[in-house]
């Protein structure tokens, strides 16, 4: 793994999300708690809704277009046969780090 420093955790609103553009497409960083962040594809497999714009609750997000709900631990849609890709992410000293390998970057900048 090669961890890339993305931003301070405070840059993401609690129970909110922000988008990171990557070679594998837009990834949303969901801040589900004070010091808890998940990374997953920003695009809903249903109609492409921007998941970072959805309401974040528990460890889930609801797509703003048609209310599909995704579990951010697994990426699985509740009650639907669909899932979104999830990516390794961690918090270190108040910074959010994303795994560069997983998002299509060969090496950390």
């Amino acid at each position: 793994m090669s961890w890339i420093d993305i931003a301070a955790i405070a840059d993401i609103p609690e129970r909110g999300a922000r988008v990171v553009k990557t070679p594998v497409g837009c990834i949303a960083l969901f801040r589900t708690g004070e010091a808890e962040v998940f990374a997953a594809s920003n695009s809903c497999p249903h109609k492409g809704g921007p998941l970072a714009e959805g309401i974040v609750h528990g460890q889930k997000v609801t797509c703003p277009l048609h209310n599909w709900v995704f579990d951010l631990n697994t990426g699985e849609a509740l009650g639907e046969d669909a899932r979104i890709a999830t990516y390794p992410v961690r918090i270190e000293a108040g910074r959010v780090l994303l795994d560069g390998m997983a998002v299509g970057k060969r090496s950390a900048a």
Binding site: I6, P13, V19
Partner: protein, 812 residues
């Protein structure tokens, strides 16, 4: 000449004695100077409601029936927290701990005492009964990680168990009999009840004999059964029964059997001493349910006023409420010779019904899981109606009699006027229907007028059905749907509890109202967020993370993830500078579609999310602000040109529209709000299908409300006609604020009006004091929210840009 007031002393502030004082205060306020003793350090409260207090559905304040103001107004001297040591009947003096009081008439309402089984260890700390607020508080302390044993599988014991289990305690119910609530239920219903309690995590031990209570250092540690099992516990609740509290009366030498003997006038063996409530014995019977106690209280009050009255015992049905279980039992359902049963079971729905028939009469009924027809069966039992003709379909209830359609309302429609609806207060159907016909258009009004459903509330559903049967479509049945899966509470409950418990943050709501999820979901969060900001405008601030994307980003998301931007055009008026700025912005940001909206403004569709703060900044520079075309808030005020240009115009409709829009813009509401102002009855602004529509006429302004032109199409109903523009604005603002304070989230005004009734709204808006309060409350809230969110967000464009762009950094 007026006589001196006589002295009345009342011992015990319970539900019966409270009702005596109420009757006296209402009908003969000058007859007596009243002194009220109560051993508990408080006045009258609704003891039936201790269970909701325990389960957290209500607070103590909500179950107080009489407060200090009431006693003061009724001229009652309160001696609360003071025990009575004795009654001297010869001297006609009651001795309290803090001194004697003489009386002309004495009412004893000492109630009952819980029966404590004299098991070894029953005096350990942590062994309590379930009788008063102190006991309730002890039980409320039992949450997760605490273990509780309840002895007694009757109504009281099960309420205690359910309440503590709901708080997370590990609860075991120990019952000596073979099934629960054996006095009210037969075995099958008892089994269903047991199953449903077990599903709530409560352990039920039947045919269990308690042997002794074990303790350590004076505190309870476990209950030991006679088979040797020890049930460890932090609290042991004994709920095995009550007995009349007769000690004082006995010491005073009054005639006492199981209870204090009283005659039909509620007079004891001493003609100046009366007794009411659970402490009395009347014709061999003692009383535990509230309905006969209230009857006794009425008779006692009439006796005290020198009126003729007699207490008559009635047969009783009990509609039982164990949190989350639906039970009904009435009459006699024991098996016996000449008795036949009709039984209906639906295991998949958990429904059980049993009717007991003797000859051609119904004598008993037990129901579990579906008790909708209970009152109808009870009527048949009470009236001794011959049922031979309908025997085959009897168990299916009134809906199936006489070939009528199975309509859920037909049961209550079929009830005779004398059928009792509210058991607590003895209110029959006829009284309620009369009240409705007399103008009581909602549940609250019926309660205020008749007291029906005002005590325990279990008949609320029936009263609502009567409203619907009587008023037809004018009454919309409130569906007690929970907000979402995070809670069992309805929107109405949540709103009420936010106000009454003064909950001022979302975590407070989740915690205090027992949310089942850590922080809600996309359904409840926006609703709770709105309720909080509507009720506590200064203490609570709107939480963008609990807003749907449109309201968080202040633009409407489109199906391709782009947004639409709609600047406000006050009253539909614009000018060349604004139009130029809009045209420039459309070009600069490659806006693919420019459209005129139905609300008289211009929509720029297809703006990229990252461009939003920049296009807003550009529009702001031309003086344009957010049109809130995305919000559950004020959208537009559509106007016609009015008297300025139109040859038919009667008033300045455009001017009024602009004033209204300037007053209301920025406010959040339960759903979107659209206004229209037409300058004459030709109604070019289509005002009569708006949430608030004003039609100008020669004499002034006709203010209509509750219009709609969406999924439903509705014409406004006239709220009021006013003469001046100022008044039209005040009425509109007051209406919007009333809607903000009371409506369910996502109910448009017409839906809300369907629930509360136009009359209720008119009464409030037209009351000068209330109207001013509403206007002030709205202004207070607007001091926070009447501002342009675009300007605010344009200042921090980074929030709209990606957090990082990893595609830019050169891959090799």
């Amino acid at each position: 000449m007026k006589d001196m007031k006589q002295k009345l002393v009342i011992i015990g502030a319970g539900m019966a004695s409270g009702r005596v004082i109420e009757h006296l205060a209402e009908t003969a306020p000058d007859a007596y100077e009243i002194t009220l003793f109560n051993a508990e350090p408080r006045g009258n409260y609704n003891r039936i409601m201790l269970s909701p207090v325990l389960s957290g559905e209500k607070t103590y304040e909500e179950i107080v029936t009489h407060d200090a103001a009431f006693y003061e107004a009724a001229g009652v001297t309160c001696r609360f927290g003071e025990k009575v040591s004795g009654i001297d009947r010869d001297a006609k003096v009651v001795h309290g701990e803090n001194g004697p009081v003489s009386y002309d008439k004495l009412v004893i309402g000492t109630g009952s005492v819980p029966f404590m089984i004299p098991l070894p260890g029953h005096d350990l700390d942590g062994v309590i009964a379930y009788r008063d607020l102190e006991d309730t508080h002890r039980m409320m302390g039992m949450g997760a990680g605490k273990r509780v044993v309840v002895i007694g599988g009757g109504l009281l014991g099960l309420e205690a168990a359910a309440g503590m289990a709901a708080r997370g305690a590990e609860v075991t119910v120990v019952h000596i009999m073979g099934h629960l609530m054996e006095r009210q239920l037969d075995e099958a219903a008892g089994y269903l009840l047991k199953k449903s309690l077990e599903e709530k995590g409560i352990t039920v031990r039947l045919q269990a004999n308690s042997k002794q209570i074990l303790g350590k250092d004076g505190r309870v540690t476990a209950l030991e059964l006679d088979d040797g099992t020890a049930l460890p516990c932090d609290l042991l609740v004994m709920a095995v029964g009550i007995r009349p509290n007769v000690a004082l009366a006995k010491d005073a030498g009054l005639a006492v059997g199981r209870g204090i003997h009283v005659d039909d006038q509620m007079i004891t063996s001493d003609e100046d001493v009366l007794a009411v409530g659970e402490c009395v014995e009347h014709q061999g019977a003692v009383f535990g349910l509230v309905a006969p106690l209230y009857d006794q209280a009425k008779v006692a009050a009439q006796t005290l006023m020198g009126q003729e009255a007699a207490f008559v015992q009635k047969s009783l049905s009990t509609k039982l409420k164990v949190t989350g279980c639906d039970l009904f039992s009435a009459g006699d359902f024991s098996e016996g010779e000449g008795r036949e049963d009709i039984v209906f079971r639906d295991p998949s729905r958990g429904v059980y019904k049993r009717l007991v028939i003797e000859g051609d009469r119904l004598v008993g009924a037990v129901m579990y899981g579906d008790t909708a027809d209970g009152s109808w069966f009870f009527g048949l039992i009470k009236d001794g109606t011959p049922v031979a003709d309908m025997r085959e379909t009897l168990i299916f209830g009134p809906a199936y009699q006489g070939g009528a359609q199975a309509d859920p309302l037909s049961a209550v429609a079929a009830l005779p006027p004398e059928a009792e609806i509210c058991g607590c207060n003895g209110i029959c159907k006829g009284t309620i229907v009369d009240a409705i016909a007399g103008g009581a258009g909602d549940l609250g009004a019926v309660r205020a007028k008749t007291k029906a459903s005002a005590s325990c509330g279990t008949c609320t559903g029936l009263v609502e059905q009567l409203l619907q049967v009587t008023l037809g479509d004018a009454f919309q049945m409130p569906a007690a749907q929970p907000v979402c899966g995070c809670t069992d509470l309805s929107h109405e409950d949540v709103r009420r509890l936010i106000k009454s418990q003064e909950l001022k943050s979302q975590p407070a709501v989740w915690q205090e109202l027992g949310w089942k999820t850590p922080n809600g979901c996309h359904v409840c969060r926006p609703a709770v967020n709105f309720y909080l900001l509507a009720d506590w405008p200064l203490e609570y601030r709107d939480d963008p993370q609990s807003r749907f994307v449109n309201e968080r980003k202040h633009a409407n998301i489109q199906k391709d993830g782009t947004f639409s931007v709609v600047p406000r055009m006050w009253g539909g008026i614009t000018n060349p500078a604004e139009l130029r700025a809009i045209a420039d912005a459309a070009e600069k940001y490659d806006v693919p579609t420019v459209k005129v909206t139905g609300g008289q403004r211009i929509d720029l569709l297809g703006v990229r999310g990252e461009d939003l703060p920049h296009i807003w900044a550009d529009l702001n520079r031309a003086g344009l602000v957010s049109g809130h075309a995305y919000s559950k808030g004020l959208r537009t005020v559509k106007t016609c040109v009015g008297s300025d240009h139109c040859r038919f115009g009667t008033q300045d409709s455009t001017g009024l529209g602009i004033k209204l829009e300037k007053a209301l813009w920025g406010s959040w509401t339960p759903h979107k709000v659209k206004l229209g102002v037409s300058g004459c009855p030709r109604n070019c602004a289509e005002a009569t299908c708006k949430d608030v529509g004003i039609v100008c006429v020669d004499s002034g302004y006709q203010v209509g409300v509750g219009g709609a032109a969406g999924m439903d199409v509705r014409e406004t109903e006239r709220l009021v006609d006013v003469a001046s523009e100022e008044e039209a604005i005040a009425v509109t603002v007051a209406f919007v604020q009333l809607y903000r304070e009371n409506a369910k989230y996502l109910d448009r005004p017409y839906k809300w009006l369907g629930k509360v009734g136009l009359d209720w709204v008119r009464e409030r808006v037209m009351d000068p004091v209330e109207r001013q309060r509403l206007v002030d409350a709205f202004e207070l809230s607007q001091s926070i929210y009447r501002k342009d969110p675009w300007a605010e967000h344009a200042a921090k464009p980074r929030a709209y840009a990606p957090l990082a762009d990893l595609t830019l950094e050169a891959a090799e």
